[in-house]
């Protein structure tokens, strides 16, 4: 029995990856979990292990090629039943499942090489399309460029109507962003007002653009504002920062935020969920993997810390520091980047009094944190200086209402305001 291994969901909204190295050869008999491929996204370079034991019948990709999630990477012959399911992470298990051939495929009646010109075959390699699965629409069943683009899920590039004179040159071949529902109206001719230049978007920028547009268009966002009094928390951090440093731990506010949010999520599970509109169901997650938005020189990346509810603050602080460093060095693994159930974005380092982030789809809520500042606050009739932290909780109005959001935010604030407990609660 032959089975296909598809590029698994890479998390983080990544829809494609570049194959860096193929570590096996056709004909090799390999064991489950043996290194199969190295892929690189703009976020990380990772080794993908084999999801099953078996003989490698066909390798569909090659180094340098960009492939989309769901593209066939390797076909296994004599596959060993798919391997014990316990070993596979959810994403890997999904990818390992045998998939029916794409709808366009048809077993070709005749044997021998596929009828296609060398130029078309090259296009197929570039787009990661297995020609043997494409039905040719050309004369004599020849596979045309359009057939290949169709199989790759791309429409033939339509010639854009562009004014002939003094238009800015396109920066490269047209790569339309995936559109969300609305057709953007044509852009005006900016050249009529002054010089312009077209710049290509980086891969990460494109991904962010597409995911943000998707989230903003799909999710009715609502935002709740509040402030936490972190005077005590700040003092606690200051008291312990030297001692922590001594033990190799950079103690920061963010590790407490992680802990407080994870604990509050346990009380408000609808914020640790995803919505399945097709099924009319909410998928509530029994794990608390929290993403932390990290600014890098390439763009925003959201690495994930797993099981935040079960780890002490000191451990979270340690993990956070090494994760942020890996991300900034471009060395994060795919597992560092996927599987999040809730996201925190802390813009405090850059100042500001508050921000309304966009939800990290398919999550349903995101906590935005600005800079904590000393404010004049009234306590028991007295004006006292307190360190106040502005928070914004933005959530999907489909899964919760304003009152739920307020209660969830209050749950976070209550924990931040009793920091000693956070040190002990896990």
């Amino acid at each position: 029995m032959s089975r296909q291994f598809l590029l698994p969901d890479l998390g983080e909204g990544l829809t494609e990856a570049e194959i860096r190295a193929v570590l096996v050869h056709e004909g090799d008999v390999i064991k489950e979990d043996a290194p199969l491929l190295e892929v690189e996204t703009d976020k990380a370079q990772v080794e993908i292990p084999s999801p099953m034991s078996g003989r490698v019948e066909k390798i569909h990709v090659q180094p340098g090629q960009r492939v989309k999630v769901g593209a066939v990477l390797v076909t296994f012959a004599d596959a060993d039943g798919g391997g014990p399911s316990r070993a596979a992470a959810p994403a890997a298990a999904r990818a390992a499942a045998p998939t029916p051939a794409p709808a366009t495929s048809a077993p070709r009646a005749e044997g021998g090489p596929v009828a296609a010109t060398p130029a078309t075959r090259r296009l197929a390699r570039e787009l990661g399309v297995d020609l043997a699965t494409v039905r040719g629409s050309g004369p004599g069943g020849r596979v045309t460029d359009d057939d290949v683009r169709g199989a790759a899920g791309k429409r033939p590039a339509a010639a854009p109507a562009r004014p002939a004179q003094r238009a800015a040159e396109p920066a490269g071949p047209a790569k339309p962003l995936v559109q969300v529902g609305l057709e953007p109206p044509p852009l005006p001719r900016f050249e009529q007002w002054g010089p312009v230049e077209r710049q290509p978007l980086s891969h990460l920028r494109r991904t962010i653009a597409e995911r943000m547009a998707l989230s903003a268009a799909l999710i009715p966002h609502v935002t709740h504002f509040d402030k936490a009094d972190i005077t005590e928390l700040n003092a606690l951090i200051l008291r312990n920062v030297e001692e922590a440093k001594h033990r190799g731990i950079t103690l920061t506010l963010t590790s407490f935020l992680l802990k407080a949010a994870a604990l509050a999520l346990k009380d408000h599970p609808q914020f640790n969920a995803s919505l399945d509109p097709a099924a009319g169901e909410m998928i509530v997650k029994g794990y608390y993997h929290l993403g932390i938005a990290v600014a890098t020189d390439r763009g925003l990346i959201v690495p994930v810390i797993r099981d935040v509810d079960q780890k002490p603050v000191m451990e979270l602080a340690k993990e956070l520091a090494s994760l942020a460093e890996r991300v900034r060095a471009g060395k994060a693994t795919l597992d560092d980047l996927r599987g999040g159930s809730f996201t925190i974005t802390n813009i405090g380092a850059l100042g500001g009094t508050g921000a309304i982030p966009i939800i990290n789809y398919p999550e349903v809520a995101i906590l935005g944190v600005a800079r904590g500042r000393e404010k004049a606050v009234v306590r028991a009739g007295q004006i006292v200086p307190r360190m106040m932290l502005p928070l914004t909780l933005t959530f999907d109005h489909r899964i919760a209402d304003g009152a739920d959001g307020a209660r969830f935010a209050a749950g976070i604030i209550r924990r931040l305001e009793a920091p000693e407990r956070l040190l002990w609660e896990w």
Partner: protein, 461 residues
Amino acid sequence: MVMGDLVTEVDVAVVGGGPGGYSAAFRCAELGLETVVVDAGKRLGGACLYEGCIPSKALLHVAAVMHEVERAKEFGLDYGDPRLSLDPLRKWKSERVVGKLARGLAAVAKSKGVEVIGGRAVFEDSRSLRVEGDEPQKVRFKHAVIATGSLPSPLPGVAIRSDRVMDSTAALELPDVPENLLVIGGGYIGLEMGTVYAALGSRVTLVEMTDGLLPGVDRDLVQPLARRVEKLFAAVHLNTRVTGLREAGAGLEAQLEGVGAQRFDRVLVAVGRQAQSAGLGLENTRVKAGERGFIQVDERCRTGDPHIYAVGDVTGEPMLAHRAMRQGKVTGEIIAGRPSAFDNVAMPAVVFTDPEVAWCGLMEAEAQRAGRAVKLAKFQWAASGRAATLGRSDGLTKLVADAETGRILGVGIVGPGAGELIAEGALAVETAALVEDVAVTIHAHPTLSESLMEAAESLLH
């Protein structure tokens, strides 16, 4: 200098300077990779340029001129008997032909910045090799390409050391024109070299182990050549083995099974070629050499070692320079990270005899073996105007097309110029053209290329 003193660090080390090696090296250099070639002779061109394709075609051209002059007597043109001087011929072959092309390759290498290191390469591991010989050094590479080619195979079961027993390399040196020459092997090398020596004046006897010349080649294509060879050679013995070979006086005595003992002045052994992969230190890498030393590669020319590629004859049949060149280019592109593949459909093969035999793609017998429904067209050159003006009506053009779609799957041609004509066949097969595409393409009149159009037309209804 102590070996290992000098360490050269490069992106790509190509081992072997033949067509596969220099094609890979040039492509790598074009794509911005720092590339060196390690070649035992410190030169580019390999067996193709120095002891194969090129010198043999130079000599075959001489044979063709002599044949044309002889045939000219038919239409009243008589130059008298030819007088051949071997020294000018050797000089022309080695200086004006081989030397000129060698200088050209060296100039290209220089312009592309490809350095050629003289010596024998031995892999020390997957990332380095040492060069033994005049320029000992160590080369550390990110990628290596093995392009060490092939060698003439010795005659199995017959051990004799004699200058009079030649392989194709020695025969191309043209040591003399023997009065009686035995050619062992009826493949393309035996037929081409037999043709040369017969034209130069040798009485050529050819023995072939199987029941026909050019084993494996379409019989319709072989037949006109077989008829011509029977006239040109003193004798052709099929189904015949050479069971013994010994020196006898100033010559050699060969035992031809079923024929008896015969005396020859020289013997040419042309029983095939074998991989040149021994002594490369492959055991220090993950490269696997299989049966008879051939290195197995996939369609991206990758060996079992992720850093090492192999191209050309050393990777097995068909051992053709143009295959090696395409593989070399593909390998350069793969190393540079481009999505390339050696996925060619049509592999043209040409036998440069008179008449020439050329084919590509799927031929009749293979289609039958594969149980594939095909339709065949044969166009006899007797109906070709151009063939008539050349006095050569013995040619044939054959098309194999898919019975249902009319897609051209294979093309075979026998006749003068077949080696040039096959290019159109290769284009048709490679681009999956239909018989209609070839039939409606205007072919210049009167030319031999019309035979392809005519054959295609006969399959249209």
